[in-house]
């Protein structure tokens, strides 16, 4: 037997193997093909087992050829294996559905009043105000008297009060915190006081409990211009940079001068009308009332022992529900306290 015929036989294996691999469509068939050609008892091994019978030169020649063929067969097998694996992966991926729902944990949410309170407080904290809190059940003194509302003062009619006893009330505003803060510290004072307040009032636009945020700044040289600046900056943070404020003279017993603050309507942008007619939010006026403010009344400074000549200050207070309704377009005040999760989950 000549080395040449053995080499030719080896070459023949390559073609046969390639054809066999091509026919293998599954991994099991591929494995069978591998065993048939490359296995210990396979065709390549069978040819190579005849190498020892050749003379040394021919054996070397044939041995080299055998190794080359083995490499080629292995390469053919690896390529086919990669093809089949890729095909299998394609089949597997074809069934992958990226749209199946995930294991989403239960969703929580903050009450809209909390969200807006936090937003307002953050805006004011960045301006330098600190947060203070105080009791919701208050003495008549802190809630009224020290705020320049002595007994029998008609201004007490402005707020219908819920009483615990003759001298104890559910605070009707967060303004008692002005007194508590100033009694506890010397100027400069820059605080905001968020919290629940109570009025004896219940109809479409009033609930007996609601939330307010009070602001107080006392220092030397504080003016109404500072108040306007603070509120303008704050309102633009909450309602957007194009929002304008309007100061209307008004009356609060604990500020002098006092003003009601309107902002340009969030729905119609101050135009007073929308495509569908007069604006329902501002009732065509272009403005909506949002808070009350003013320069701290000297009588209030007297009540806390501040020097009324040296110090001036401003105070403001706003209803959080009102701001929230405007900001989110909520039409019904009562929804805030029904806590329907279909309502809560929107925020």
């Amino acid at each position: 037997m000549s080395g040449l015929s053995l080499v030719a036989e080896l070459e023949g294996l390559v073609e046969a193997c390639a054809a066999r691999l091509d026919r293998a469509l599954a991994l099991e068939e591929l494995e069978a093909a591998r065993v048939e050609f490359l296995g210990r008892k396979g065709q390549l091994a069978a040819v190579m087992s005849r190498l020892p019978g050749l003379d040394p030169d021919a054996r070397r020649e044939a041995g080299k050829a055998a190794n080359a063929v083995k490499e080629r067969l292995t390469a053919l097998y690896d390529a086919r294996l990669a093809d089949l694996n890729r095909a299998a992966m394609d089949v597997a991926l074809a069934g992958f559905d990226p749209t199946v729902p995930g294991y989403a944990p239960a969703a929580g949410s903050l009450h809209p009043v909390t969200l807006v309170t936090a937003e307002i407080c953050k805006a004011l904290e960045e301006l330098g105000f600190s947060i203070v809190t105080g009791p919701e059940i208050e003495t008549d003194y802190y809630n009224f008297e020290a705020l320049n509302m002595p007994p029998e003062h008609p201004a007490r009619d402005m707020q219908d009060t819920l009483y615990i006893s003759d001298s104890i009330v559910l605070r009707t505003h967060t303004s008692p915190l002005q007194i508590r803060t100033m009694l506890a510290s010397k100027p400069p004072v820059a605080v905001i006081a968020p919290g629940k307040v109570y009025r004896r009032d219940s109809d479409l636009t009033h609930t007996p409990m609601f939330h307010q945020i009070e602001g107080l700044l006392v220092d030397e040289g504080v003016s109404m211009a500072d108040l306007r600046g603070t509120l303008t900056a704050f309102v633009r943070r909450i309602f957007g940079p194009k929002t304008n404020v309007r100061f209307r003279p008004s009356f609060f017993p604990f500020t002098e001068p006092s003003a009601e603050v309107d902002i340009s309507c969030v729905l119609c942008g101050g135009k007073g009308s929308t495509a569908s007619g007069p604006c329902r939010v501002c009732k065509g006026t272009g403005f909506v009332e949002i808070l009350g403010c003013g320069m701290v009344d000297p009588n209030v400074f007297d009540a806390v022992g501040y020097d009324t000549e040296r110090y001036t200050g401003f105070a403001f207070g706003m209803g959080v529900e009102r701001v929230t309704m405007l900001k989110y377009g909520i039409g019904d005040l009562r929804m805030f306290f029904e806590n329907d999760i279909r309502f809560l989950s929107q925020f």
């Binding site: 199946v100 729902p101 995930g102 294991y103 239960a106 969703a107 929580g108 949410s109 936090a118 407080c121 330098g128 947060i131 009791p135 919701e136 059940i137 029998e152 003062h153 008609p154 402005m158 009483y163 615990i164 104890i168 559910l170 400069p188 968020p194 109570y198 004896r200 219940s202 609930t207 007996p208 220092d219 003016s223 109404m224 211009a225 500072d226 306007r228 603070t230 900056a233 404020v245 309007r246 100061f247 209307r248 003279p249 009356f251 017993p253 002098e256 001068p257 006092s258 003003a259 009601e260 320069m295 009344d297 000297p298 001036t312 306290f337 806590n339 329907d340 999760i341 279909r342 809560l344």
Partner: protein, 801 residues
Amino acid sequence: MLLSLSWLRELTPYQGTAQELADRLTMLGLEIEDIFNPFEAIMGVVVGRVLTRQAHPDSDHLSLCTVDVGGESPLPIVCGAANVAAGQLVPVATVGVSLPGGLTIKKSKIRGQVSEGMICSESELGLAEEKSPGIMVLPETCQVGTPLPEALSLDTCVLDVSITPNRADCLSVLGIARETAMAFDLPLTLPEVAYAESGPEAAKELAIDIEDPQQCPVYRAKIISGVAVAPSPDRIRWRLTAIGQRPISNIVDATNYVLFELGQPLHAFDRAKLAGNVIKVRNAAEGEAIVTLDGQERKLTARDLLICDAEKPVALAGVMGGANSEMADGSSDVVLECAVFRPGTIRKTARRLALPSEASYRFERGVDQVGSVYALNRAVALMLETAGGTARPGVAMAEPKPFTPRGIGFRPARATMLLGEDMPEDFCRKVLSGLGCQLSETDPSGVIAVTPPSHRLDLEREADLIEEVGRVYGLDRIAPRLPRVSKALDDVPAESEFGFWSRVRTFAVGLGLREAVNYSFVGHADLDILCLDAACRVSVANPLSEDQNVMRPMLAPGLLATVRHNLSHGNANLRLFEVARVFAADAMSETSAREAGRLGIALHGLRHPDGWPWPKDELAGYGDIKGIVEALIAHFKLPAGVYARDDSLPWLAPQVVVTVGGKRLGVIGQVTPEVADAYHARHALWLAELDLDALRALADGVKRGFKALPSFPPVRRDVTLAAAAGVAVGDVLTAIAEAKAAIFEDVLLIDAFTPEGTDERRLTFRLTYRHPEKTLKDKEVDKVHEALVAAVLAKLPVTRP
């Protein structure tokens, strides 16, 4: 206050529109809430002339008329009034017009005769309260075809002005006219008052005796004799109607007219019913009574003020007249009171007796003592004009405390400083004198002595004057400026309660809970259901309703109400929380109550969100709510809580008290079926209520710090124990910890089940051992582990199965 624009125009010649006026007044601090036409409903009614009238062929009380309403051809109208006659000018409601009573005129056939409109009576037009006997016949000055309100010069434009409590001076047409005149630089003219007087001097016939000048600084009375009580002339009746007042009689209407025009309340007594020749103003005796003219007997206190004749009280001063002295049909002599009373006194009486009136409203805010002279004369003139009679010369009066104008030091520089905008001295002077103030020369220190007019009782201090200057300048014109908020270097505030609550809220939201906000008050009945202690409750003295009459001592009642609301709206799966205060009575507190922060949690329904791939049909239970509490405690880096069974709240079972570091943190429990049922819960309803003040104190005590990561690997050993009924997992965990094995690091329960047919629980624990300085050998660990397990077996009724 309702202000008629045409009435205003009688005092100042304002020619602009109502809207312009409203805008200007609003920016001056007199907010206009609304502008409306009180006669809107009859704007469609026109003046018509009855051309012909003949009897209806099929009725003996109906007439067939033809009426010219200015249209192409006269309208046929069937009229039922007896007084209709050809040639009359009459108000006609044409087809399509709706009358105040709700009747809409249609083309119709009345007993076979076509009728295309209705000839109206005064009452049908809402111009008279009592049913009119016949149709209204209009004066010849009316033009056919003109809308009736126009033809009658009715007050068709009314502004609803919201007057703040400080602006008592604006509770009248005069007051708003003053502001209007100032704002538009117009003159102000008061109606001229002139009348003849005759007979004896009023002061000779009536003495005025004021007990306490503080209560009544001035009391004036005019005597008019020979009046004829009758309805007022149309223009007065209709004007009062326009501003929502019910006309009564010429005498009473004159007092009301002046009240609304000038802001001075007056009262007319029937002189014949007054005993003696004296009016006494005195405080009531405790328990004294008077029947007011609404027929109610009023029990009085010594703080109420009475007007009395020689024998008896005849009026509750400033609040309401007495029934025993009121003007009635047939009365002929009037004592007309024009006084000023102490505001606080009137307010107290009106409030206590729940008798608010237009008069008391003005007295309690303060009336113009100087202006009252003119007001009295104006009322007398009106009465003489509308009711006839003769006025006695002079006034019966006492003025023990005349009005004393006060001077206020005003510094333009201070106005500039406070308003933050330059307020030049001449501008300040112009504004203040425009408001009726007297001004001195400026002294060398820049102070002007300002004397406000008698009608501006609210101007007491420099700040009040600065407000006036700012108001007239326009607060809205002040240029905004951001303040420099200065703070002391050592002003480092601790985290506020609000800040801590925010952290708790954020945490709860992260765990998939939705925040509820409930009213702080609930009903005593809610607390009774929950058997909450009655002694500690803080009741609301004047609640709006029975379900809001007590401050909640726990968040639970509010959360339960939220659960009920949601379940009744089909929201079955609930994971809720609330952060708020609770209240308990506390005699030691200055507010008589103790307030504490709480976190409340409520779970009901499915454990997991609805839908694939989450497991279905698993309901939230103890493990879920406890897991939230455990996570909260871990979140604040506190030591693990101790959970012990409890039964102090009879509506929670099981009920577990949570303690951390020896401090009671709160309670977890399942609402018992009977109570849960009352709140519509169909599944287990679990609540937790945690003390946020305690949590905050604990959290504040935690020092966070770093520990080096372990250098050597852990070794883990599992052990399964069969625990007899009654042995709690916590008991085993405690026993393991208390074995104090040197290399013991941690233990974790990894499995728990109860094999069928036994009541022994199989509990598998995974223990972690680690040496800080070397790698442990299996043998070493085995030895320690076995000793530890043996210690547990020795201590508890547990076995190794």
